[in-house]
Symmetry: C2
Subunit: 211 residues, 2 copies
């Protein structure tokens, strides 16, 4: 038998195996790199996001927190004002003063880190006025952060601060915030304890199609 | 030259091409199917989201709009009140009355569809009060919708309505909204015209790490 014939057969088999593996990448539901797959991954992540209120002892790294903040700052803002400021509390000892001031946010006591999303009133428009949309902008940024946390296997929960005066004061005092920063919420972060599940909140009575 | 030799060379090249492509699937930043990959896909989508203000003639299907609404309703809400209502305008003829009333939202005239995200004041707590957080909740829902639109290759943009009285009245009149619905924004939707690019809005001066 010609040695090139043998090489040809071996190469044919190898090529076939690779083609099948390559085809599988495009057929398998959760992989591949087409638009449809990215769309499904993003939707799955949105639907899987849940409020996580209990955390394990596993540490959350600075790099992970930095990624969350980068995701947050990619949100849209009214008139592109970006009227936000993020305070990242790294390490549990940073959380104690806040946990003491916010008895309703008990999960802070076992969180590994927290992000306080604030509106920055020192960011002003041409007329010198602060944003009238800062709570919307900071809410969209918070949602980005929560979604990215879910994608990274982290757990987090939005605990509201604004517009409740007593909570705003408690956070401002605990963190020694300057007057121009108004805390919208506090987001405790950690690896989820247990197996928290998302709610299915889809409700067809809350959508109206007009065509 | 031996014909098997030629076949061997051709097959070798084909095999090499396939190996390189396969390797690329695992090396490329947005593919693979591990946890890390899902995280990268989600982050990439968050960072790629941009405000799209010009659209092609390509139609947006009911199924696509339904997916966007399902994504929106997965957002968290204060005290789980879900104080929202979504009005989906399908087809361009539905957009004309709104486009006429909202001269600042000119892109509506060429959008294929639009979603009006409203707060529903008829959703009340045990004490009979509407949500004090409806604008935050609807903002988070809007961000989910915008992110899912990006993931599906659609373009969309948040055009603000609340808290501007004249815009609120214009939308309420154009859409004949009942008093308990307050429009937060109007989101025109279509396939992007041209090649809009996202802004890099990360700013290290807007984040403060405490450790």
């Amino acid at each position: 038998m010609n040695k090139y014939k043998i090489v040809s057969i071996v190469l044919s088999v190898a090529l076939l195996v690779h083609i099948v593996r390559l085809a599988w990448v495009f057929v398998a539901p959760s992989s591949g790199d087409g638009v449809s797959s990215a769309s499904q991954t993003v939707l799955h992540n949105i639907l899987q996001r849940k409020s996580v209120r209990a955390y394990t002892d596993r540490a959350v790294s600075h790099e992970q927190l930095d990624t969350l903040i980068r995701a947050a700052m990619a949100a849209p803002t009214g008139r592109d004002m970006r009227p936000w400021h993020f305070i990242v509390l790294e390490g549990r000892h940073q959380l104690s003063p806040l946990a003491e001031q916010l008895p309703y946010a008990k999960m802070l006591a076992e969180a590994q880190a927290a992000v306080v999303v604030c509106g920055d009133m020192s960011v002003t428009d041409k007329e010198g006025n602060p944003s009238r949309n800062w709570t919307f902008d900071c809410s969209a940024a918070t949602e980005n952060l929560l979604l990215q946390a879910e994608a990274m296997g982290l757990g987090a929960v939005w605990t509201g601060v604004y517009p409740y005066d007593e909570r705003i004061e408690a956070v401002k005092q605990a963190l020694h915030l300057p007057d121009h920063l108004i805390p919208l919420n506090v987001i405790p972060i950690g690896y989820p304890k247990g197996d928290p599940q998302p709610k299915d909140k889809y409700d067809p009575t809350k959508v109206e199609y007009r065509n």
